[in-house]
Symmetry: C2
Subunit: 152 residues, 2 copies
Amino acid sequence: MPETSTPFLLAGDRHTLEHGTALTPRFDAHGLVTAIAVDAATGEVLMVAHMNAEALAKTITSREGWFYSRSRKALWRKGETSGNTMSVREIRVDCDQDAVLLKVEVAGDGAACHTGHRSCFYRSVPTGNDARNVVLAFDQALAQSDKSAAGD
Amino acid sequence: MPETSTPFLLAGDRHTLEHGTALTPRFDAHGLVTAIAVDAATGEVLMVAHMNAEALAKTITSREGWFYSRSRKALWRKGETSGNTMSVREIRVDCDQDAVLLKVEVAGDGAACHTGHRSCFYRSVPTGNDARNVVLAFDQALAQSDKSAAGD
């Protein structure tokens, strides 16, 4: 999607992009920016998704989380079917304006992940000496995450 | 980069991908996954970047943040020139394994952003009624961020 078809201003030079006061999102070749949703109260990272210009504009104006599904090639309102909609308390944009951070409250049972976990990042990956081979088992982290999720 | 050239296992079916105990990263068409760095102590989102298989493998084994620059088309060790290297305390992977979350400590002056800010997300975007037109000014948030950054 060419940037000219979006409701946003075109990006200026690098200084303006990084230090300017206008939102000039840098959509990638597929017309997308990265969107990270964090819990507005705790800061916990809940989900990473993508937004096209329409999803970003809808999120900004409605203060509800709208995204773009790369697999389904469609706009989606988070929680449309699950009830776990996202109320957006604040939006931040990063230095080169190709990623946005949403501080959200998740409605319903509070699960931001379609698997039922609060966060999509429910598994820990072994590192350093614990990552001895390519099969990176993380059973323990998964079990712990499920236990704490059950207490939500 | 085809997945077969990586040191990681190939992704299985959706259930295994989401509930399995093996790291089977789903690199995109450009051979990349999204990487989010958060402050290990506070959880603050510091930076979003990308990793190819080599950057991910190096980060896992060395516990230092390695990324892949899409603009420079090169592997880079975060902080190589600035001194703001990232010590990785934990790595998490998301449900569909196309994004990783790094809990890090930033060395040097603690600025994760090349602009000198602690976090790349130093600007707030007006939302709802405040976002009346396509010029989304965020002077105030920028000024506040610079003031707090100066106190770091």
